[in-house]
């Protein structure tokens, strides 16, 4: 018999309150997680767009890409080992657009299929700048340069350190920034999960995609604080389940005792509680998944918000596991209650 559902139906208010709280907390969690992911895209989509693989920087650079410099000889060594290796450099800077407005930007030079190919004298910009009024054919320049670059096109979602990326030709990069080396090498390899498994090159330090992202100074701090909030919300929701089921169970101890007296299995009582926990969370989670996706589609385009179905699915699973643990912990009372207690209480 479906006791779990029958009880929910008879005590709608009580379970609606629990459901609404779970709904609100999970919605908040999804939204913060969407923000965390959105900010991470906004911060480093340039790197996040790359496939799984290994990044190399000079060991002496101490995890700071701008200090890294891979000489022609080192580049050759890497290419001999891995012919598909890509090399690129990033330089934070700014430019002045046609309306004399100064904008900060991340210049990227690469000879690789992972990034757009750019002719000398041209630049390809992140699409966010197109929304701000820059058009193909515009000339951009910089106070320190004695040349300008022509906007040749736009690329979707290419940002680094919260700045739009500007892809330029490696030769231009060398002239403009007075360097003849590349900073970073990248080897795509879907099998590698850990930088320790990567091929070793003398004087170079290897990074997995995530490790490389964490070398971006703002990236780590941002993600850590948002992820902490998400973890706290998950813990709070677990405690909520525990407290709520504790209160509900305390009120039902008499019934549990009587049911045990007439021979019902303790396991059946637990199953009833688990079924209720599952029904309530499934209902609340589906609602907050839908609403967070609606929020995503309505959110202003400038808002760094990015929530995938996978992310919400995974978080929902965690919610259910935590709710299960919370409910089970509070269910210890069910195990403890003796039929005699309930019978004697009835006589009071």
């Amino acid at each position: 018999m479906n006791m779990a559902w029958k009880e929910i139906k008879k005590n709608k208010l009580r379970y609606t309150i629990l459901g609404s709280i779970v709904f609100l907390i999970s919605l908040l969690t999804f939204i913060i997680s969407g923000l965390a992911n959105g900010l991470s895209q906004d911060n480093a989509s340039l790197i996040k767009n790359l496939p799984n693989g290994i990044f190399y920087m000079e060991e002496e650079a101490d995890e700071t890409y701008s200090f890294s410099s891979l000489s022609k000889q080192q580049q050759q060594e890497i290419t001999e080992e891995e012919s598909e290796a890509a090399f690129f450099s990033i330089q934070m800077g700014n430019f002045i657009d046609t309306s004399d407005k100064q904008r900060s930007i991340a210049y990227v030079a690469a000879d690789s299929a992972y990034f757009p190919e750019v002719n000398p004298g041209e630049v390809i910009l992140d699409a966010s700048l197109e929304d701000e009024g820059i058009a193909v054919g515009d000339e951009i320049t910089n106070e320190q340069w004695n040349q300008s670059l022509t906007v040749a096109g736009f690329a979707e979602h290419e940002k680094y350190s919260h700045s739009p990326a500007a892809f330029i030709n490696p030769d231009d990069f060398q002239t403009l920034f007075h360097t003849d080396s590349m900073q970073i090498a990248f080897i795509a390899d879907s099998a590698i999960q850990n930088a320790d498994d990567a091929p070793i090159f003398e004087g170079l330090q290897a990074f997995s995609n995530n490790e490389f992202l964490n070398t971006i100074p703002s990236y780590n701090a941002e993600q850590m604080s948002l992820n902490m909030i998400v973890i706290f919300l998950l813990v709070i929701s677990g405690m909520l389940f525990a407290i709520f089921f504790y209160m509900i169970n305390v009120q039902k101890l008499g019934i549990y005792g009587i049911l045990k007296a007439i021979g019902m299995k303790t396991g059946a009582l637990f199953q009833m509680m688990w079924a209720q926990m599952f029904l309530i969370s499934a209902f609340s989670l589906i609602l907050s998944i839908l609403i967070s996706q609606v929020f995503q589609s309505l959110a202003p385009s400038g808002m760094p918000f990015h929530l995938t179905w996978q992310a919400t699915g995974l978080l929902s699973l965690v919610f259910i596991i935590i709710g299960f643990i919370g409910a089970t912990l509070s269910g210890i009372q069910i195990k403890r209650v003796e039929p005699m207690q309930a019978i004697q209480q009835g006589e009071m």
């Binding site: 018999m1 006791m3 029958k6 009880e7 139906k9 008879k10 005590n11 008499g254 019934i255 009587i258 049911l259 045990k260 007296a261 007439i262 021979g263 019902m264 299995k265 059946a268 003796e338 039929p339 005699m340 309930a342 019978i343 009835g346 006589e347």
Partner: protein, 229 residues
């Protein structure tokens, strides 16, 4: 050997340092298919004896036999199965499940007793028993909307729906007025006869004695009188 025997049962409760012996060596044999009443002053140990016999609490000493099996040496799970399948219970207050309808209370008992009846047969049996206690017309009602007498009649129905061999009842009529008490008592008598159920019940009420076959009087933890009618 008879169906249900209580042998030299003792029960001691500890009140802090002080130990108090509530049952001081009780021997009872229940007459099969008959109603046995436990009477005696308040505090004489009737409820304690009944719950020990029913496997709801342990004896400090002595043995209880049901169908050749010694309940006093059984594991909790074995005892639970016996309670579910072979015993029925009526408590002083009805103790129904508040969120189940009258009909569902009985269905739950059949489920707990792992009844071998098909769903269809179960429905028929529930109807029959509810008609017996005159509650069929209220089958869809929830306990909070029933009167005390109606609740107790449902409790009686729940106690016998799975055809238990032994029915334990602790003052089943205490919360009812005299007229209702008589009705419930008649009902228990009828069920016991029709279904060959052995009954052990505690009662204070002398008006109930005409309905029983065997009266055991207790005082201060011992049996002072044992009369078979």
């Amino acid at each position: 050997m008879s169906l249900f025997t209580i042998k030299h049962v003792r029960k001691t409760f500890a009140h802090g340092e002080v130990k108090e012996e509530i049952l001081k060596g009780i021997d009872v044999t229940l007459s099969e298919g008959k109603i046995t009443a436990l009477t005696g002053a308040s505090g004489s140990g009737k409820s304690t004896l009944l719950t020990i016999a029913a496997g709801l609490q342990t004896a400090s000493d002595g043995q209880i036999f049901f169908e050749q099996q010694e309940l006093t040496s059984m594991r909790k799970e074995e005892l639970r199965q016996i309670r579910a399948k072979q015993f029925g219970f009526i408590f002083q207050s009805a103790h129904l499940v508040p969120f189940l309808t009258v009909e569902e209370q009985l269905a739950l008992m059949l489920e707990t007793a792992e009844s071998s009846l098909s769903k269809q047969e179960q429905k028929k049996e529930i109807r029959q028993v509810l008609e017996l206690v005159d509650m069929w017309k209220r089958k869809d009602a929830y306990p909070p909307s029933l009167s005390g007498g109606e609740k107790q009649r449902v409790a009686v129905a729940r106690a016998i729906i799975h055809s238990p061999k032994v029915l334990f009842a602790d003052e089943p009529t205490a919360s009812l007025d005299s007229k209702r008490s008589q009705e419930v008592m008649k009902l228990i008598q009828k069920l016991s006869k029709e279904r060959q159920i052995t009954v052990l019940m505690v009662t204070h009420d002398m008006e109930m004695l005409p309905f029983v076959d065997h009266v055991i009087k207790m005082k201060d933890g011992i049996i002072i009188n044992d009369i078979t009618a």
